[in-house]
Symmetry: D3
């Protein structure tokens, strides 16, 4: 189920603006598979273009953080936001990028640790130490 239509390849092929994005997704990822997120965003061509162009710049182009680190940050955010779709798709992406079992284990340990200390710091309403101020 979804709140919008999921575009099939046949429907996409009839809309050049949408097809251009799908073509670029396939070329960039060197894979014919286009996942449902893009098939849902196809209902909003401007948002589709903007989001793909942003994902490409942030997640795919080389930078100071390696690709696996970026996926782990993405999964961490998606986990706390309870975004089932995003947890699934970016865990698959981390695997496709070669994350090791040990790295994934440590990732889970950090997320677990942060979740519990977040809850404790909020329950206790710990005041921020002035030493942490960078303003």
């Amino acid at each position: 189920m979804a709140t919008v239509k999921l575009w099939t390849d046949e429907e996409v092929s009839l809309h050049p603006r949408i097809k251009a994005v799908f073509d670029d997704i396939r070329a960039t990822r060197k894979s014919d598979f286009v996942n449902n997120f893009w098939r849902a965003l196809a209902n909003e061509p401007a948002l589709l273009e903007r989001t793909w162009s942003s994902i490409k710049a942030v997640m795919i182009e080389p930078g100071a953080l390696d690709p696996i680190t970026k996926e782990l940050i993405y999964i961490a955010v998606s986990t706390v936001n309870s975004c089932s779709y995003c947890v699934h798709s970016h865990t698959a992406a981390a695997r496709a990028k070669g994350i090791s079992d040990l790295q994934y284990s440590e990732f889970l340990a950090v997320v677990r640790m942060a979740s519990e200390t977040n809850a404790l710091a909020t329950a206790l309403q710990v005041p921020v130490d002035p030493e942490f101020d960078a303003s």
Copy 2:
């Protein structure tokens, strides 16, 4: 303000169980500064011991993820949980561990990207592709 008392060094010095943890925090971090999170947890000695021992194992001992990557995952979780204390303390920790300006910029870009696509995937209720199933 806080919902519990924040223990001063003088009060800590009178409780050997709590003092042992504070001593280990100082020795492990090679710094005299003990931040408010531990001063608040001092009200719960068992929780204090458990949390410090867990933080040491997860965040300080060497592993498959480097220390800066672990801090970034921690800040990502804390940001989505709106834990003001944790964002402040772990951003300071990332800086102390030598995060570069470029790494921090890219971290912000990934968090921003994940936050917006999480919202979109949830608003559109995109169904998870069977390709992502690992069960």
Copy 3:
């Protein structure tokens, strides 16, 4: 799946207190369809009455905000709370009330924008400007 029983029309017909609410839902909405939310709440008659009466007053009776605006605020809250049921039901409600494609596009753009700037303001722990204080 659900954590409680979903009441069928036949079961509802045997309980006058619950039936009265279902009858009013049908009469108010001029539709025979009663969605699962009410079939789940039927396990708690007092909560069922209170929630329906509140929904009717807040969402259905005319006021200073038009019905589509109220649905959009509802979907925004439900999206951030990751309430899959509520996103689905209120997106359907917005459509039933005549939301245009352009309005829905702009809604998604605002939700995306707010989600990313929320994450940035929290990650940077931006202090509130005194100019915003209304107390």
Copy 4:
């Protein structure tokens, strides 16, 4: 407190790239006041430019939703994300754009209503009715 430096006007004046954005904020809003969010983002010039350009397109340029509706959606998202800064700044923005007391009252009523029904739907794990599927 903040996790980053807040740029003063004097510091901004020495960096043409940042100054250009601040000048455009002032010109667009017809006000000399530049709030702390932008002073924090000034540490990340690319993010500053991208965010301001996006805010201008989404929140300021005329569209299918009126400016007050867009602010209300923004405040709704920010409230659920517990973004103190964003709630303050966008409530001030809604006031500056002329929201009436009655509109604000109804906004609070919808947010309250959505928050409580979100919690109920999640606690009861109500299954989505097939009637709501638009895929």
Copy 5:
């Protein structure tokens, strides 16, 4: 800071509808202290009346759950919602109702435990066992 005015006792005394609620708060709690939540809600008399009447019915009138259990559930919700105000006010309420140090310790342990297993179940996207279905 706040996004609305906080009403002083003098201002309240001039508005009979608001004064009636404040009088009932004081009489019910047998205390002259009226906390800021009600002083903020005073801007919305209908919401003030509704919320106080609801709080009285749910939190103060005797029922199947004892008063401390109800406060702990309230603090748990408020902690995960990062509602600083609510964590502070309901932790104070739990203390005023006589929560023991041991009860509070166990409460923190359950919140910590739930927070970490929630994160794990979401990161792993564990499918709900059919045995848990009650529908």
Copy 6:
């Protein structure tokens, strides 16, 4: 669907470290049923051991809070975190431990009440009264 493999009893039987935990779960709960959460955690033996040992200490061993109260706090946290799995499994646990219909009704009422007042306190950004400070 899940992001990891769910271990069958047959697979578990071949790994003594994992089998020891599953045996203890069955013995402690006096039931042959082992739910999916543990079958997913089996991929991470250290995390499996740690989590089960922690759950046993916090949720099963007798303490100052009765077992039903602890389950209710757990469900409250899980509801706000939108952890579908955890809401399902701990509501089933509360039922298995003998929660009455009236207790569950009141639980829902408190969660509803807290959710709505959390949203109001955050939307109004009510400042914490100095009277609530325990530091």
